[in-house]
Structures are given as structure tokens and as C-alpha cells.
């Protein structure tokens, strides 16, 4: 873990880059936020790479890579998919970026630790299982229990694009990430409707999902645009809760790398990733496996077609979409 910070210092010191995009501590040690460091001193003082560096840094490159000078960025495997997807969409200037890939065994979530009963945490030690130091003594927690939701269904340990690697290059790993979607699909429409009403009705339109999502990076969102015809800033009723999330999911269809940031940041704990994953699952089933950001040249399924694509009526008969 220390190697990451050392690398950041080394890159700044050698003049390879003029800025470093990384993480710094927030209010608590488990509450890390993305930050740009402009000097060795700043890194030494504030840069943190720990079990809580879950945040995906790729999105910040849209703005940062357009600035003067080169910037270093640290990318976990799942972040590298967003990084590549953004390059495919010409959103970032690759030549201004020095990408350091870092292997990852899953990131942890402070909230999970707290709900596991850790009060007054002062630090965490990684190991076979986690040793949590608290004001009231040490506690041992299974790492599995503390993992972020997105890390529990990790799909790949492969770092798609990088200039330098810390740790080993990994491979795609088997994941049962569609299990939850399949569970929902197996419900009756009434149950599904009730499920999503319960979830989406909590939405307060804080736009955290939109702000964190690397795919949701429009110059101006349609929901903020008075001429789009769908402008709306606050949800007034159930329709608008649905509308926002349906359209948002549709707009990131086949562009979403399933990085899971939307659900991670949602203050209302709405499982937003289940919307995106539904589209990913459908695409895989109907048009062949596709992983956004896994390569540089595949054609996104919504910008592609085959003559013998299934008709829309397929959803009436397909397994899983049980009535």
C-alpha cells in the first residue's frame, strides 16, 4: 500500500507528472475522497491509499486531463474499465495522463464495519481478516463482511490500460453479479413494481449517482436543460423518480462498466447498480457478451446491430421475464 504513495512522490519528484490524482482522508480515516496533489509535500501530507480507496478516479480525468501538464492517476482494475471507456468516447486526453495500475483485493466500506458493530474506529489492519482498532479495543472482522457491495461481485482483476503496474496483472474472474437481477426477474410484475417503488421512492434527487458516474459525464445533463423537455431538478412524484432513473440507466446502457459507484455513493442506499446490470444482462443475453471498457475497438451494442437481432417481442417470451 505504501508503494502507491511512494510512486506518487517518485513521479512528482522526477518531473514525469506535475499533478497526481489520488485519495485523501476525509472526516474519518475510512472516509476517503478523491483529490489532486500538486507537490511532493502535499502528497506526503495528505495522500492516502488504503482499504478504503474505493472511489473510482477516472471521471475526474475528463476535466483534469485537459489542463496544462501531465497528471498521474491510480487505477484499480474496475476503474481501468471506466478509464478505457472514457478514452473510447474521446472524453479524456490520454497523452496528458500517466496511468498507474494497482492490483486490488477488494475495497472496504466504513459503513459496513460500523454496522458490523465497530464503534469509534481508529484504524484497520489488513490481513487474513481485518483487525479493527477502536477506542474500546480491537475487533476482528471477516474481510468479506466489510467489502463494498461492488467488490463482493468483482468481475475482473485485469487492468485494461496503464503505463505502469504496481502488483501483478490479473484476469477476469467469475462473478455472480447477475444473480440479484435474476432474482428480481423471477418475481411477478407486482412484486417487482413494489420492490422498485420502495427503493426509488427514497430518491431525494441529490444527483450523487450522476455526479460520481464516469458514464454520466455530459457537458450538460438533459435533466438540467430547459429545452430538452424533461428538465427537472427535484422529484415531485413517483413518475419523476422513475423517469430520472430509467433515462439515466438508458443513457449509460452499454457504456456502463459496472463500476458500482452509483450504489456506493447513494445516501439513500438505493441499489441503482441493479438497473445498469439489467441492461448489461439483457445485452449479454440478446446481443452477445459485451463489457464496456474492456477494449478499445469493440462497437458498443446500441451503436451496432445484426440483421437477425431478436424482435422486441422477445421480452414477452424470454425466460426470466416471468409474468
Amino acid at each position: 500500500m505504501q508503494r502507491v504513495k511512494e510512486k506518487a512522490i517518485e513521479l512528482l519528484r522526477s518531473g514525469e507528472v506535475s499533478r497526481v490524482l489520488g485519495w485523501k482522508t476525509g472526516e474519518f480515516f475510512y472516509d476517503l475522497t478523491p483529490a489532486v496533489f500538486e507537490s511532493v509535500e502535499e502528497v506526503e501530507k495528505g495522500f492516502v491509499f488504503s482499504l478504503f480507496s474505493g472511489a473510482n478516479l477516472s471521471k475526474y480525468l475528463i476535466a483534469e486531463s485537459k489542463k496544462e501538464g501531465k497528471i498521474a492517476v491510480f487505477l484499480k482494475p474496475c476503474d481501468s474499465f471506466s478509464f478505457v471507456q472514457l478514452q473510447k468516447e474521446h472524453r479524456i486526453k490520454r497523452e496528458n495522463i500517466y496511468a498507474v495500475g494497482i492490483q486490488c483485493d477488494g475495497m472496504c466500506d466504513g459503513e459496513s464495519l460500523r454496522s458490523a458493530g465497530c464503534e469509534g474506529m481508529t484504524g484497520v489492519e489488513d490481513g487474513e481478516s481485518l483487525t479493527v482498532h477502536t477506542l474500546y479495543g480491537d475487533q476482528v472482522i471477516e474481510k468479506k463482511e466489510a467489502l463494498l457491495g461492488k467488490c463482493q461481485t468483482c468481475k475482473s482483476k485485469r487492468i485494461v490500460d496503464f503505463d505502469e503496474l504496481i502488483g501483478q496483472q490479473g484476469e477476469d474472474v467469475p462473478s455472480d453479479r447477475f444473480a440479484e437481477v435474476a432474482k428480481l426477474e423471477a418475481m411477478t410484475p407486482e412484486e417487482r413494481f413494489a420492490f422498485w417503488r420502495t427503493e426509488l421512492s427514497r430518491c431525494i434527487r441529490c444527483n450523487a449517482c450522476r455526479n460520481v458516474c464516469p458514464a454520466c459525464s455530459c457537458e450538460k445533463c438533459v435533466f438540467d436543460n430547459p429545452v430538452s423537455g424533461v428538465q427537472n431538478k427535484a422529484v415531485a412524484d413517483s413518475f419523476e423518480e422513475n423517469m430520472f432513473h430509467i433515462i439515466r440507466a438508458f443513457h449509460v446502457t452499454a457504456r456502463c462498466t459496472d463500476c458500482g459507484e452509483c450504489s456506493r455513493v447513494c445516501p439513500q442506499n438505493i441499489p441503482l447498480h441493479l438497473l445498469n446490470r439489467k441492461f448489461i444482462k439483457d445485452i449479454n443475453e440478446l446481443y452477445g457478451d459485451y463489457q464496456a471498457g474492456a477494449d478499445f475497438d469493440s462497437r458498443p451494442p446500441l451503436m451496432d446491430f445484426r440483421m437477425d437481432d431478436p424482435e422486441p417481442s422477445v421480452i414477452y417470451t424470454r425466460g426470466g421475464a416471468a409474468k
Binding site: 410484475p189 413494481f193 422486441p312
Partner: protein, 145 residues
């Protein structure tokens, strides 16, 4: 709202200019009846249909939305309906996933020669939506008096 009037659904039909709108015209020319609650909106191609239009229709009180376009392979713009087919498949699947009745949305390919198919499609769609009743799951209460 009139009291004694039987409820009939509001249906919005998006028709591509080159095939389905002409097909709809043909069913008129042949005097083939279908219910008056189907209202057609002309778009240049099925690929012009933005999912936002569909949701907007439901918001404003539509009970069913149908997209008609040229048969795959016959698109005036060569490839438009292939894109529309993927978009609508995924969108409808998502609506279904959210528990919104899938029978309220439909895609049908109607050529300029298929006046009879257009009328039959509309009759069947109106029947299906009538059986479902009013759109409750995807409505905006403010838009209903």
C-alpha cells in the same frame, strides 16, 4: 371527466414517415376501422423515437405506446430500424423489470402496403391495453385533472 362514458385508453402510435405512416394512410384509404383513441405521431424514422417520448406519453396520461416502422431491412435510411429495434427491446425490457406492464408498449413493423396489418395491429393493441385498464404505474398524477 364525463361520468357515464365508458373508459377507453389513450394510445399514442409513433409511425415512421416512409412505411408505417403510409401503411396507416392505406388502412384509411381501404376504410379499415380501428378505434379512434389511437393517435398517430409522424416521425421520420423509427430510430427517431427517443425513450423520453415514450415516458413523456405515459406521464401525460397515455395508456399504451406503440412504435411502427419499416420492416427490418427495408428502412428508408437503410439501418434506422435496426437501431430502433435494439433500443426498444432494451427499454421495454427495463420497463418490464420495473414492474410496469409490458403489454403497454409494443413495436410492430408495418410496410406501406400493409394497411390491413396496421388496422389489425391497432385493434389488437387497443384491446390489450383496454384489458389492462388505466396506466397507474407510470403516471404523473399532476397531469390528470
Amino acid at each position: 371527466m364525463q361520468v357515464n362514458k365508458e373508459w377507453t385508453p389513450t394510445i399514442v402510435a409513433f409511425c415512421c414517415n416512409w412505411c408505417s405512416y403510409a401503411g396507416a394512410d392505406l388502412s384509411g384509404t381501404n376504410r379499415l376501422q380501428y378505434p379512434a383513441n389511437v393517435k398517430i405521431i409522424r416521425i421520420p424514422c423509427s430510430c427517431r423515437l427517443n425513450p423520453m417520448f415514450i415516458l413523456r406519453a405515459f406521464q401525460r396520461g397515455a395508456d399504451g405506446v406503440i412504435l411502427c416502422g419499416c420492416h427490418p431491412g427495408d428502412c428508408h435510411y437503410t439501418t434506422g430500424n435496426y437501431y430502433a429495434r435494439r433500443r426498444m427491446t432494451l427499454l421495454f425490457s427495463m420497463l418490464e423489470y420495473l414492474g410496469i406492464e409490458r403489454e403497454r408498449t409494443r413495436v410492430e413493423w408495418v410496410s406501406a402496403a400493409e394497411g390491413a396489418k396496421f388496422a389489425a395491429t391497432m385493434n389488437d393493441f387497443v384491446k390489450t391495453v383496454t384489458a389492462l385498464g388505466e396506466n397507474k404505474r407510470l403516471e404523473d398524477l399532476r397531469c390528470k385533472e
